[in-house]
């Protein structure tokens, strides 16, 4: 089912102004905190001041007695979730954990862990009520660091946590939630064939998605239980499903109305406030609005996992990689579920290596439960792997791109995690990077150039789209996936392409959970691919229906009608006849009524994505401060539907990766309390930190999508960690293995290397 079939594309690949653009440059767009209802109460959350403590006693009566306070909820108000109800289709999350994350049960597991929520007539009363909740804690020893959490004498977060994935099962509880093993070939044999091995240990810190919009929501519950939730999230159907499971409600009783989302990057793929707002609204009988402060966002919402990684690669003298192995320990936060398995799978995916063994540990610590962050699990593992590749290139005195080309995965390569690659464009990204003027530009003193690659699976998934033809021939495209970075524009372009009409005649809409069939959430680089496939199929169905309607009007067989330039055409009684979309719409009443098409599918055939980045840095040799001088991101994007927004994904991902590499980190005091829950000391890149980020879109079409689309959003955050680290390492002639490479850390590594050289 390819619409390209030799015909030049008219809409796909163009750069129209996005349909929601005007609202977003004029301040009209309604984001989560912008939505208000008359009579709404203000909700607030009481959070734990301790990293690890038992709740001995909690008394909310004084809070409830405060004038203006209308409702208080605690964990006791949440239904108990049975083992059978713990998961949906055996997929994470574990709803018992999610429930305990939303309101702590018995124990608080991190500073900022929610323990109660109140609703009052205004924010001041709500805040005062929180202070009146009397809580008695027994403070317990805590553990923040992943390696310390794995020690046998570490404080245990969950007394019933027995490590999964080990036979025989351990008899004692620990903080290791699970062990994951991935074996490909014979790694011992592989290393015995190696002429050279490179071994190193790496650490990375948890980093926050740092979307600029804090979490917020509004909930309203009618006396019959019908519930409405207005919020921004990465999936209105996710919010509905999670709230229903957490609150033991039927899905039909909940309608989630998606508001504009101010950034997510994976961090809004779960719920924090919504179930609390529903419970408070239910108890009070009034709408309840809840907003997190920025400090709440940092303390209580998901960072990406921090990690400790030990890795080794082996190669022949000519650079051929023969073996790789790694032990990856990822911080899950307070509850199990880090993406360590994805780290194991992605680290060496760009390379054709016969023998790979990866072991992953999912480890709980007293920090906020980790959440997805763009290519979950991949950047830290890739940082380790790409650093080793760079070290190998230096040892062999080989060009780092040549070394990668020599070992690059191609069509037919069996991946270390199992399946074989079909059409992929990794080699093309390497060749484009090598040919880019950036790669041969001269470097000055204290400057270095780093290269790194990255891989992400990309996914499809369940998706729905509805297309309706308006009476005047304009077209509505409704989907159930929030638009985080311009996906409305992509949906409109794909529909316009199939209908062969001007994209401005197509109005895309993101609709609520009662207005379209289920869709998986926006994430994993799936929307343009999978929802785009639903839109394309719906548009194709609409064209088929319109051809039938035209045939009816002309009284000719269906097969005699074709579709061109937004019109049904046919030779009728020897003369060329044409019916425009508008003409067909106007006469729809005569031909069978309104014209519409709805497609729900589970998209298969997502095409893997690869990127290669080049980074130049200059290091101040007296202070260790790193300046990024030049940056180029090359990626196989399959087909860029709206190239500006594809480039934007590459640039944004690169900037996030640069922040991860250089300055972003959580800082804790001795009691496990977060010291930097704000943008002042949680240092995401600002405009003056970055150069222009050049992009090269390599287009190796994915044959399993009508327009050749591959997901593009995840890949660009993977290579920067390695690219920046390799650049800094080359600039300083010292290997930097710990992130972030903050000025003191870089200086220390440089001084240590200088002492060693002496």
């Amino acid at each position: 089912m390819s619409h390209s079939n030799g015909k030049a594309l008219r809409s796909v690949g163009t750069r129209p102004v996005r349909p929601d653009g005007i609202d977003k440059v004029t301040g009209r767009a309604v984001f989560s905190a912008d939505f208000n209802l008359p009579d709404a109460l203000s909700g607030a959350v009481l959070r734990s001041p301790f990293a690890h403590a038992r709740i001995l006693r909690m008394d909310t009566s004084k809070a409830l007695a405060l004038p203006g306070v209308k409702a208080v909820v605690t964990a006791g108000d949440l239904p108990t979730i049975s083992d059978e109800q713990a998961q949906i289709n055996d997929q994470p999350p574990d709803f018992r954990d999610l429930s305990a994350n939303i309101l702590a049960r018995g124990k608080v597991l991190y500073e900022g862990h929610a323990i109660a929520a109140v609703a009052a007539v205004d924010t001041e009363s709500a805040q005062r009520a929180l202070q009146l909740i009397d809580v008695e804690y027994e403070v317990l020893p805590h553990v923040i660091d992943v390696q310390q959490a794995m020690e046998p004498d570490a404080p245990v977060l969950h007394e019933n946590m027995i490590t999964r994935g080990i036979t025989p099962a351990p008899t004692r509880p620990s903080n290791i939630a699970s062990r994951h093993e991935q074996i490909h070939g014979d790694v011992e044999l592989g290393f015995s064939q190696a002429d050279i091995t490179v071994t190193e240990e790496f650490t990375t810190q948890p980093v926050h998605q740092a979307y600029i919009e804090p979490h917020a929501c509004m909930a309203r519950v009618a006396s019959d239980g019908q519930t409405e939730i207005w919020c921004s999230s990465q999936g209105q159907f996710m919010v509905r499903a999670y709230c229903a499971r957490l609150l033991a409600m039927p899905l039909s009783q909940i309608r989630v109305i998606p508001l504009e989302i101010g950034g997510g990057f994976g961090g809004k793929t779960t719920v924090y406030l919504e179930p609390l707002a529903v419970m408070l609204a239910r108890k009070s009988g009034r709408p309840v609005k809840m907003e997190m402060s920025r400090a709440d966002v940092f303390r209580a919402t998901g960072p990406a996992s921090g990690s400790y990684i030990s890795m080794k690669i082996g190669a022949r003298k000519d650079g051929t990689l023969v073996a790789a192995q790694g032990i990856l320990c990822y911080q899950a936060g307070a509850f199990a579920g880090s993406p360590v398995r994805l780290g194991c799978m992605t680290a060496f995916a760009p390379y054709d290596i016969a023998n790979v063994k990866m072991i992953g540990y999912d480890v709980v610590v007293n920090r906020a439960k980790s959440a997805a962050y763009r290519a979950p699990g991949a950047p830290m593992a890739s940082f380790a792997a790409e650093s080793l590749i760079d070290m190998l290139a230096l040892r062999l005195d080989m060009d780092p791109i040549e070394l990668r080309i020599k070992n690059a995965a191609r069509e037919g390569t069996r991946t270390a995690y199992g399946p074989g690659f079909r059409e992929i464009g990794y080699l093309e990204t390497l060749e484009a990077a090598r040919a880019h003027p950036h790669y041969s530009a001269p470097l000055g003193k204290n400057q270095g150039r780093g290269v790194a690659s990255g891989f992400w699976f990309n996914i499809g998934g369940q998706s729905s789209a509805a297309i309706t033809l308006n009476e005047d021939g304009t077209v509505m495209v409704a989907t159930g996936n929030p638009d985080i970075g311009g996906s409305r524009a992509s949906m409109a372009l794909m529909a316009a392409e199939v209908l062969e009409i001007d994209v401005n005649l197509v109005r895309p809409q993101i609709v609520d959970t009662s207005s379209i069939a289920y869709s998986d959430l926006t994430g994993g680089s799936r929307v343009t691919f999978a929802v785009g496939m639903a839109v394309t199929q719906a548009a194709t169905q609409l064209v088929a229906e319109l051809k039938q309607r035209a045939a009816k009007l002309w009284d000719v067989p269906d097969g005699q009608v074709s579709w061109r330039d937004g019109c049904a055409i046919a030779i009728v009684d020897g003369s060329d006849e044409c019916l425009s979309l508008a003409a067909l719409a106007a006469q729809a009443g005569k031909t069978g009524g309104p014209v519409a098409a709805h497609v729900s599918l589970n998209a298969q055939g997502a095409g893997p994505g690869f990127g290669t980045h080049i980074c130049d840095v200059e290091v101040d040799s007296d202070t260790g401060r790193v300046t990024v001088l030049r940056y180029t991101a090359v990626q196989d994007v399959g087909r860029a539907v709206h190239p500006s927004y594809v480039e934007g994904q590459l640039q944004g991902g690169a900037a996030q990766g640069i922040g991860w590499a250089l300055n972003e980190a959580y800082l804790y005091d001795d009691n496990g309390a977060l010291l930097n829950p704000g943008f002042l000391d949680y240092r995401i890149p600002v405009a003056s930190d970055l150069p222009m980020i050049d992009t090269v879109l390599v287009e190796v079409p994915n044959p399993r999508h009508p327009f050749g689309v591959r997901g593009v959003g995840e890949v660009p955050i993977i290579p920067p960690l390695g690219a920046v680290a390799n650049a800094v390492s080359r600039a300083t002639a010292a290997r930097h293995v710990d992130l972030p490479m903050s000025p003191p850390a870089v200086l220390k590594t440089m001084q240590r290397a200088a002492r060693r050289r002496r």
């Binding site: 007296d622 000391d681 890149p685 600002v686 930190d689 000025p743 200086l747």
Partner: protein, 290 residues
């Protein structure tokens, strides 16, 4: 919290004296409001001084000295060409504080009275030999900037006192100052360490007057007379500057905190002081040519 926005100097002191509980002066409010937002209790009375003319003007006097109102914003300071020419270090230090948005509000008086060890403008004001004109119920007094901050968050001001203006003395030809700080990013951070140097050169390019002050490497910003003395009579030769760096680093008494370690701060203060001295020297020499 009662809010007042008096228009006369005399009203400010009277209001502060009349405050039941805690009274506080607000200029730009960039530190104060951020702290309210983080949960710090609000004072009982807030006195907004931005309607008082004397606090909001920059005056250049015939002898070359300047008076800068305590409430003048960084943006206005940065737009004052004469002040920037004569005191490039003081003005660049003020302009380094926060974003353009912060610059639209933040003031020298606020930066000093916030009494942060890392206040960017304070080391530069110390090396400039700036004095504060302080007014209160007991009358008026002049206090060197170097003596205002007593400990983190605490100044020498009595509860009914406030700073009216800063006095920057006249200076000889071939004088210039410079301020440098280290932050991890290029903007928006609090200084990990900061160094200000003010020098005067003679016709031969030899340093005849110098002062050096540091920020973020001690409980309060402070002058380093020993380092300044080293510069006297020199042309900032490389071997001398190595010694200068050591003196600066060894004068630091920093703490380990979320923004830096003791070792790193000691080291970087020395690096920055050397660089700032060289910039100040170049500026002074350049003024000689101009």
């Amino acid at each position: 919290m009662h809010y007042h926005a008096p228009t006369e100097l005399a009203e400010v002191a009277a209001l502060l004296a009349s405050a039941k509980g805690q009274g506080r002066v607000m200029a730009g409010g960039t530190d104060l409001l951020a702290r309210f937002a983080s949960g710090m209790p609000r004072p009982d009375m807030l006195v907004d001084i931005k309607q008082v003319t004397e606090l909001m003007v920059i005056e250049q006097h015939d002898n070359g000295s300047f008076t800068v109102g305590a409430g003048v914003s960084g943006a206005v300071i940065g737009e004052h060409a004469a002040l920037c020419r004569v005191w490039p270090g003081v003005t660049e230090a003020m302009e380094l504080i926060g974003s353009v948005q912060i610059q639209g509000r933040a003031s020298l008086g606020g930066n000093l009275c916030n009494a942060s060890p890392a206040a960017d403008s304070v080391p530069a004001l110390i090396t400039a030999g700036a004095h504060c004109r302080i007014l209160g119920g007991q009358g008026e007094r002049q206090v060197p900037v170097a003596d205002v901050i007593q400990s983190p968050g605490k100044t020498c001001l009595a509860s009914d006192e406030f700073i009216v203006s800063f006095y920057l003395p006249p200076r000889p030809a071939r004088s210039a100052d410079a301020y440098l700080r280290l932050i991890p990013r290029s903007e928006m951070d609090i200084a990990v360490a900061g160094a200000a140097v003010n020098v005067t050169l003679d016709n031969e390019g030899v340093v005849v007057a110098a002062s050096v002050a540091l920020g973020a490497v001690s409980a309060v910003p402070f002058a380093v007379p020993g380092a300044a003395e080293l510069l006297m009579g020199s042309r900032m030769e490389d071997d001398l500057m190595a010694q200068f760096k050591t003196v600066v680093s060894s004068s630091c008494r920093p703490i380990n905190d979320k923004r830096g370690t003791i070792d790193y701060r000691n080291h970087v203060a020395g690096v920055l002081a050397v660089r700032a001295a060289r910039i100040a020297g170049e500026r002074a020499a350049w003024k000689e040519k101009a």
